[in-house]
Symmetry: D2
Subunit: 281 residues, 4 copies
Amino acid sequence: MQRIDFISLVENYKVVFLDSYGVLKNHKGLIGGVPETIEYLRDRGIVVKILTNDASRSRQQQVELFKSLGLSGLTTGEIITSGTLARLFLEDKRIKGKIGYLGTENAAEYILHIDRDSIPIGAIDLENCDDVAAFVFLDDEGFDWNIDINKTINLLRMKNIPVVVANSDKLYPVSPRDVAVGTGGIAKLVENILNRKFIHFGKPDSQMFMFAYNQLLKEGQFSKSEILMVGDTLHTDILGGNKFGLDTALVLTGNTVESSVDSLVAATGIIPDFICKSITS
Amino acid sequence: MQRIDFISLVENYKVVFLDSYGVLKNHKGLIGGVPETIEYLRDRGIVVKILTNDASRSRQQQVELFKSLGLSGLTTGEIITSGTLARLFLEDKRIKGKIGYLGTENAAEYILHIDRDSIPIGAIDLENCDDVAAFVFLDDEGFDWNIDINKTINLLRMKNIPVVVANSDKLYPVSPRDVAVGTGGIAKLVENILNRKFIHFGKPDSQMFMFAYNQLLKEGQFSKSEILMVGDTLHTDILGGNKFGLDTALVLTGNTVESSVDSLVAATGIIPDFICKSITS
Amino acid sequence: MQRIDFISLVENYKVVFLDSYGVLKNHKGLIGGVPETIEYLRDRGIVVKILTNDASRSRQQQVELFKSLGLSGLTTGEIITSGTLARLFLEDKRIKGKIGYLGTENAAEYILHIDRDSIPIGAIDLENCDDVAAFVFLDDEGFDWNIDINKTINLLRMKNIPVVVANSDKLYPVSPRDVAVGTGGIAKLVENILNRKFIHFGKPDSQMFMFAYNQLLKEGQFSKSEILMVGDTLHTDILGGNKFGLDTALVLTGNTVESSVDSLVAATGIIPDFICKSITS
Amino acid sequence: MQRIDFISLVENYKVVFLDSYGVLKNHKGLIGGVPETIEYLRDRGIVVKILTNDASRSRQQQVELFKSLGLSGLTTGEIITSGTLARLFLEDKRIKGKIGYLGTENAAEYILHIDRDSIPIGAIDLENCDDVAAFVFLDDEGFDWNIDINKTINLLRMKNIPVVVANSDKLYPVSPRDVAVGTGGIAKLVENILNRKFIHFGKPDSQMFMFAYNQLLKEGQFSKSEILMVGDTLHTDILGGNKFGLDTALVLTGNTVESSVDSLVAATGIIPDFICKSITS
């Protein structure tokens, strides 16, 4: 575990995988200096991929959101979301029937896509739901928590169908002080009540890294040792990057802060190869 | 594990501890024959105590509810609720400050009582909450799940105060088909997000049985071997009764049904001494 | 959470419940000054009870061990062990058949007693074990871990019998540097493999405190508010004492040390009423 | 979930991924008819890959073991073991120092390889272990459980180094009646004691499937929909295959048996696409 500034470190790699929230942006917007760092990486020919646990927006919407914050020039091919993996899973599984979901219509439209017959939990009739063939936890918004979480539990008690969690994050920051329960936290509640395990997508799971790596191989020949994974969270970014066999760098601009980084690494046993203050210095 | 009819079994005991939901009543009202069984017990001089995981009503309200369903003559002294234990805990701990809570005003009034300065989570100002000195999960109703569960999480991230779960049931039945997430399930979500353990009251915890037993000793001299614990749920009634050293009888009028009782006992390793179809035969 | 010296604090109580390891003694022997503190408590008429998670020795052997270390005058009535609770449980349950066990012969003799037909796991014939009616995890010594833990798992896969863990401690210190897996840790491995929950005795479970309190009431009238629980471990001594409604004091002579006490209290949410350096100052 | 005979089913695929124990062999040796089935697959040009959670033997030793049981003609390229993944991880991580391990010398030789400086836990000096830079759980044999598991715990308390579990199976069958704690079970005990999470390799983790798939792509172009995953265990073979996006077939010649398959699928929510009696009919 070596402390080093990001700019010196990144020279040794041909590719950087970047987490989004806590690395590129925070609740106030872009982290200062990020556009300059991204431009520096592009100038050096270092390939950038953004790996984010998110199933609420399309990749195109992600690109536009970054643009509105002041980071232009990203392409959809540079963004890998857990929602994409959930969608591919459902396509591979060739589900015959409707896909029930918990989340917003926007998420359903962009994640589940138009060729799918999807239905929000609120519109499912529990007396008559033979045609619901899979279920997806998409987002923590777009439904009534009390009514619709209970309805989801009762649906899944009746029907033994594949259940997918399109974003495994248990909580996410909404301000410097406050967090909110995320899609993964709601799914965990339901798993706990039902005593079942759903299929979760998102870091630290290897599939997210594998997907990014396979995308990368379409652009050229890269070995894992040429990739640096950068994130602000030990349990997702660093654990997942380590396991996939990448070098990992923890930045201190998000979930993990200077004052507790050493004790957290010791307590969790999740060890980044490098610690950098931020990606902008 | 012996199959026997309840009336033959109960003759061997001086006291019966009865679970409420699934033993005395279900979603439709009283289970048929229950008033007659209770009368039979009284005629034989067998002491009755009802042990229920509930923190939404006062014991007087419980008595009245049973009366409205057709079971008269219960006294508050015959009812032991997990809410009572939570209240006693808060009294013993001599909390100096307000007690925040998640639940209904009725629950707060009856469980936390008037001499306490209690405040619902919705009324707490997170910018100014120095005076909140403890927090209680009282009920699954009386608040906005999305807004107020998240607010509870943020309150408890800021303030390291005693947190009490006044009813540890994770879910409860609301119809023959449907269940709902209970107070204990909501508390579990928050514990999972915060990675902390709260203080839970209710079966199977020994304190509920100890409290009932101590109440009993005020009425006379009884040994544990003279008490039969009767319930419909392996993980609460039977596990708790077994551990406290009581003989236990599982009835099949609630959570556990004839068709799966053998496989459930084998899978959980929770073994009742007796299995009875119901307390009414 | 108030920092105070023990001698000033204890004046306010009529009874102290003391953990043993980390409070009275450590790997080197008695903690310096302990005999004087105990004498001081006796002089002031403060009742002493030692609550220890241990099922390897009889209470008489505990008294003798303390004496050999230099603390004389303890009586068996002052010592409450988790092993005693396990034994009472097995007596209450009126097990008909042999009690299998994992542990030493000494533990079996003193914990399970002579009127019981007990048999070590090594002597059980899995082809012919119809007469084994209960099983007890007694100690982490006295058997071959590889052979006998696997044999225990296979016995319990075949036979659905009550299983008791007579000491729930997962690990214990053996030197300033080293720990060892305890009885509770071995039981946890077996529970994890079998996906079952055994009946555990020992702090933080309320039964240990209830038993001590009931013993106390035979000696006089004491309210819970007159008792101080003192221990070195948040998860057992303090959590258990808090839940039982006692005032709690954490000492820093064992598992919890000055440098990390604040962060541990914050991380666990287990809050002692008082923090004392030791019981000897 | 469709019941179908394997021979009819397999015609629809170009590749089969086969679990080993419970599919190809059991405690008595090869399952009857397996050599004929493998020959049939070869005749039809269906590619075979064996995916096994094992870190005790080299792939060459696996080939020889199958040959000695009567299944000739397997090649090392057809065998994917969790041990291989663990080895690759350690190579990618470019560990500088010795790799400590729990297991047999044979496992260390074949899994960790000669160019690594590896050292069994028994030979590590805890007073002088600065040069131990990683640790691997390789096997459940080749060490003293009591002494060496405790020593492993103390080593890992002192040193915050990457820890790898080369076979995540918690238990494995040793006879029709008996099971034994596996490498994954021992690792779980240590994780539970230390409250840390190690890096586990083996099904159901996606990396095992990804590795097999990448090996496959070196031999030709195959889409996931052309691959059938076949196994006897819901939690590893089926869960992992499902998540990776393969069609899955559960066979009833190992861990899962006809009498309980329906209730197990319902209880776990892990749903194979197909159920076959065996791969030999």
